[in-house]
Symmetry: C2
Subunit: 338 residues, 2 copies
């Protein structure tokens, strides 16, 4: 070993082997609602144990672990929230995102990670029935229910990037709408916009609820079924393709994009929200790591680079394609025109 | 929000929710023996896929993820090992540590993390039969087989801290010996040392194999049973208590330490290897995070601070106690005398 090399260390290996314990700890903290209890002024082990109906020993060990991970701070035996924990992990906050566990830690999604070696051998999910892209997979209802809060931030960023007059009539198609928040947020910004949401029928129930709650229910209609099978209609000003393409291989994406192209008005735009890694495919971490999720849970999906997306979009007739970063979210937006 | 605060970000939360995927990825890489294949000169996706009998698509996605985690580097589509991956994760290396997954990712240990919220409520493991400290739990054979390689580094550091003449006769008791590497390493350094290893009978088979392989089998004897029940013998110069106290509550530790005290010669020393967090209990991460492992897998175990260990040791009649850090391992050594 050269003297200039740092001392060999197995620490990264140990931390990675034990990384699943971090998932287990944050899940438990949300279940016990530790963060809301601290926001409520219960900051000592004894007070938190009483509030969360748990043992002082268990609360002390869990909260120390949350400090170690960076979700809490600790001073003189008293725990405090970080800014991010206060915003995203307390039920008192409108941006509470704890509900994402319903989808992100659903048995369906986690099952895909039970045997990654097998998925690497095969080159795709080893879950039965094509994994999460199986028709009507009930995991998408969990997605729609769990992920709405977390998608508020990218939805608002996306709505701001819609370049139209305030009073303009906009005909919007929201493909694989899920919770519907992307279309709904645009509808809130543009009072003359009308949204057509497309998804499985059980998922559309969630989107419709959200549209009603947001006060745009009278401008919200739906198409139930698979985006590959149903008629889209035509002459849309905006078509939203959010977190959809990554589930499929390139040929499937191109054929869908051709269908999208036909449904779009001549000066319409397609907004594609995706995890778009840099061309090296190993950065930034949030986007780059998403490929493994697709390997684990779909037959042929991927996190496509911008050059791959651009190639597919061009094949489908979109000559202008722009990439937008959406920090601090891990996602990117591609805006395409014919 | 004050303007001086950084932008709110859900990134840490997302990363932690998905942390289990890191565990799944490193486990798969070891199963497919990706690191050894790269050490063997297979550095492209195609070459690795052929060598590891896997799909190019799966290999590309897994290797990119390993780059993202810091286990590999990538240049011009070719993957290279980091120094630490080369030392600890390739089978060509004598320090190969991939075998730790047999213990650290055993169903028994991982089961304890299935429901941390329940463990926090209860204040201890929710696994049946006292979790990992149940008599004769077969997980300790996995421990003995899987952890030997990883314990070489602390074992060698510990052996160097034994302050004795090279030719001195040393009578050593190795309590809960497991793989036996701590006693064996000292026996290799001191040719007149004799080691008595204590553990469950099935575990001792592993220790005896390792002692034979290390060439110290003729100075190696065993006592089969529970450390709390069997007779230790007396007049030991060294007693090793490695990774044992953390499984038990303080009263149990004190009663064991009293038994240890009686078995030790007047000028003998006890070497206690532990995860010893700082007094704030939230640093350093390797030691501090170990409390959660004990909450998940034992009824009342813990990662004790030095002041807690010192209090127990003093109660058991040890008046001199010194804490030694063992970097880069996450562990600490306490050396005690009457």
């Amino acid at each position: 070993m050269s003297n200039s090399s740092p001392e060999p260390s197995p620490i990264l290996f140990f931390e990675t082997i034990n990384a699943y314990q971090r998932t287990a700890a944050i899940k438990a903290a949300l279940e016990l609602d530790i963060f809301s209890a601290i926001a409520d002024g219960q900051t000592t082990v004894e007070a938190l144990a009483a509030k969360c109906d748990a043992s002082p020993r268990g609360v002390r060990i869990l909260c120390d672990y949350l400090v170690m991970m960076g979700f809490l701070t600790k001073q003189n035996g008293s725990y405090q929230l970080t800014q991010d924990s206060s915003i995203f992990l307390t039920r008192q906050s409108p941006a509470y995102a704890g509900g994402v566990t319903e989808f992100l830690l659903s048995p369906t999604l986690m099952e895909g990670f039970q045997d990654i070696a097998a998925a690497v051998r095969k080159g795709g999910t080893v879950m039965p029935d094509e994994g999460t892209v199986a028709p009507d997979n009930p995991v998408w209802v969990k997605f729609a229910r769990g992920m709405a809060s977390m998608m508020m931030m990218p939805a608002q960023m996306m709505a701001k990037l819609v370049d139209a007059e305030a009073e303009q009539k906009l005909k919007i198609l929201d493909i694989a709408a899920g919770h519907g928040m992307f279309g709904i947020t645009i509808a809130k910004r543009f009072p003359n916009a009308e949204v057509v949401a497309l998804d499985w029928p059980n998922v559309l129930e969630v989107a419709k609820e959200n549209a009603e709650q947001a006060g745009v229910g009278d401008r919200y209609s739906t198409i139930a079924g698979s985006a590959f099978d149903v008629e889209f209609g035509s002459n849309y000003d905006l078509i939203l393709l959010t977190n959809f393409l990554h589930h499929f291989n390139e040929a499937t994406c191109v054929s869908l994009l051709q269908k999208v192209n036909k449904a779009l008005s001549d000066d319409g735009k397609v907004l594609t929200l995706e995890f778009v890694p840099d061309e090296d495919r190993v950065s930034p971490p949030g986007a780059a790591s998403f490929s493994l999720v697709m390997l684990a849970s779909t037959p042929q999906g991927d996190a496509y680079t911008f050059s791959e997306l651009e190639k597919m979009l061009k094949q489908a007739g979109f000559s202008h394609n722009e990439l937008h970063q959406l920090p601090p979210t891990p996602q990117q937006l591609v805006i395409s025109q014919k």
